[in-house]
């Protein structure tokens, strides 16, 4: 490579907040770019990938949602795609399912890992083994894990894993994915099993950062275990709890593989259809890429709304 000088390094011995503080002798833009060609050369590959596969598609998605391509001719159609998407009978079912999945997944996938992390953090033995166990499902390809659930756990006959357990406990068995009511809980259980390992490990790291003196002081003040959790553990991990809540909302609202593999997409009477699945269906089955793009924009707006509400709430708390 023909890079022989290193002007970029000499410039910033003290690393200011912005690489070019607006001083009186700020050189012109062209000059600054020329001075640091090396830096730009190192960036160019990654920037090109972002431009082609993230930034450009982002804009393109919004543009596409107002266009329609027929026989190779693209025309501007305004809100037509949005109207068609809203008229889809599955649209509201998909949103309802997405919200209930997100809600249930938060209940299970949020509280359970936190509780598990608190308990694991108390143990002085078998720690490594338990951590490996919780994280193991995260490493399985989702398709593998979901076929396991589909064929074995949710087998609607009495031979299925869950039904055998229910029978052994003298509880009524279930049709699982074949019953519209059980579809959602079944998908949430599978998804939580697959994904909770990551959250547990992150909580564990956060718990280990809590200074032990706080617990000691609380104990001296006569606080029992529950009050110590409420007044020490939760406030001390609040930031991470809030961050993970946000990440999980965004991640679970995009659930797609669960309906596709467990419920063949829609489930009984649209009981499994998700917004993400609807995007897939419009785009790649009904050959309606523009409609799918419009649905994508709707999803983006809803999630941005969530993020904004969350930021406002967390700003108020501080």
């Amino acid at each position: 490579m023909a890079i022989t000088t290193a002007p970029g390094i000499t410039r910033t011995p003290g690393r200011p907040a912005s690489p070019y503080p607006s001083g009186p002798r700020r050189p012109g833009l062209g000059r600054r770019v020329r001075d640091n060609l090396t830096g730009h050369a190192f960036l160019i590959g990654a920037v090109a990938c972002f431009a082609f596969f993230s930034w450009y598609p982002m804009i393109r998605g919004v543009v596409m949602s107002f266009q329609r391509t027929r026989r190779g001719v693209t025309t501007w159609v305004g809100w037509d795609n949005y109207e068609r998407i809203l008229a889809d009978p599955s649209f509201w079912a998909a949103w309802k399912n997405t919200f209930s999945f997100t809600f249930l997944a938060l209940l299970l996938g949020y509280a359970v890992p936190f509780f598990v992390a608190i308990v694991l953090n108390e143990f002085r033995h078998a720690k490594g083994y338990l951590r490996i166990l919780v994280y193991l499902p995260v490493m399985l390809p989702p398709a593998s894990a979901l076929f396991l659930f589909k064929f074995y756990a949710y087998d609607p006959s009495d031979a299925g894993l869950f039904n055998s357990i229910l029978t052994a406990l003298h509880l009524p068995t279930s049709q699982w994915m074949q019953s519209a009511e059980m579809t959602m809980p079944a998908m949430v259980i599978a998804s939580t099993w697959m994904n909770m390992g990551g959250a547990v490990l992150i909580y564990l790291a956060a718990l280990q950062n809590i200074p032990g003196e706080l617990y000691e002081a609380a104990e001296l003040d006569g606080a029992g275990i529950w009050r110590r959790i409420r007044h020490v553990t939760i406030p001390q991990t609040r930031l991470i709890l809030a961050l993970l809540a946000m990440l999980q909302i965004v991640a679970t609202m995009q659930f797609f593989v669960e309906p596709l593999i467990l419920a063949n997409g829609t489930g009984t009477e649209d009981s499994a259809t998700s917004v993400a699945y609807l995007i897939y269906q419009h785009g790649f089955f009904q050959n309606d890429l523009n409609g799918a793009a419009a649905l994508g924009v709707i999803m983006l707006v809803v999630l941005a709304g969530f993020s904004a509400a969350y930021l406002r709430l967390s700003a108020r708390q501080d």
């Binding site: 912005s18 082609f52 033995h125 490996i132 989702p142 894990a145 396991l148």
Partner: protein, 295 residues
């Protein structure tokens, strides 16, 4: 962590060692160890042994814990009928390429952003991090359209490994991890290298990279497992049976293939990532905790 060096947590160590606390501790530990083994390892055991059962035995109530008459033939059938060798090779090839592209391009970018500090560096970093806010599902359609006809170059990347490799580079999380690690390397080292007449490339290669092995390991593991676990994207951009990944291939065959053969194939597909995990679990755990949260 050794029992004695463990710092104080919710319950005091003294309380755990005393009579009642000790009984509760050991009971709880046993319950959790047994419970977790059943919940997290149990299904995997069911999967591996279930794939050894005959169709008849699978349908039997109550289910058998051990296959009465193990049929390794299911695994052999899965291997041959689904052409798993080809599917696994494809997946491995995509994962390896994504790893190389990410290591080269993302490391170079993080190095530039952290140490060379080009004009607009912070803006570019901000734009990269902003992509973390955009849900993947929202981008799927326009990304697919882009891959079919790449702007300016007008090439179609369908069925080409580049359709997986190049988008993998646009990974803001890994760039962020690498940049944060490079930021922690003292400027004095850079200055010393400069005095010795080293070029930026030379400095990266001889000073920064050797110091960054831990984070490079973490990024590598994330890069490989992300490709291995991905489903929708390879399903869309690798439509031909010859270019499929293993997850997509199993899904494509799941309709007309006996259940235990599909499960056997799922077991085989899961082996590489599980092995990676068992070998590198220390690095994965540390990467998860250092990377995201100690802010």
């Amino acid at each position: 962590m050794a029992p004695d060096t463990a710092s104080r947590t919710l319950v005091s160590p003294a309380q755990l060692r005393r009579g009642r606390g000790r009984v509760v501790y050991w009971t709880l530990l046993t319950v959790v160890v047994v419970g977790f083994t059943l919940v997290f390892l149990g299904p995997l055991y069911w999967m591996v042994t279930g794939a050894l059962k005959s169709g008849q035995e699978i349908a039997q109530t109550p289910p058998t814990l051990f296959p009465k008459d193990p049929q390794p033939q299911n695994y052999v059938d899965a291997w041959h009928n689904l052409d798993l060798a080809k599917l696994l090779f494809n997946t491995f090839y995509y994962a390896a390429g994504a790893l190389v592209f990410q290591l080269v391009l993302d490391t170079a970018a993080a190095y530039a952003l952290s140490k060379l500090r080009p004009v607009f560096g912070n803006l570019i970093l901000g734009l990269m991090l902003a992509t973390l806010m955009i849900p993947a599902m929202v981008l799927v359609v326009p990304q697919y359209v882009t891959v079919i006809d790449l702007p300016i170059l007008h090439v179609n990347l369908l069925d080409s490994p580049f359709a997986i490799w190049l988008p993998a580079v646009a990974n803001a999380f890994n760039i962020f991890l690498l940049k944060r690690f490079f930021d922690s390397i003292p400027e004095e080292l850079m200055a010393a290298a400069l005095v010795d007449g080293a070029t930026p490339l030379r400095t990266l290669w001889s000073i920064i990279l050797p110091m960054s092995r831990p984070i490079l390991g973490v990024v590598s593991i994330f890069a490989v497992t992300a490709v291995w676990k991905d489903f929708l994207w390879p399903k869309l951009v690798m439509p031909s049976p010859e270019t499929r990944t293993v997850s997509v291939g199993i899904y494509a065959f799941s309709g007309g293939t006996p259940m235990n053969v599909v499960i056997a194939a799922s077991v085989i597909a899961a082996i590489p990532t599980v092995l990676i995990f068992l070998i590198f679990q220390r690095n994965i755990m540390s990467g998860l905790t250092t990377g995201s949260l100690k802010g």
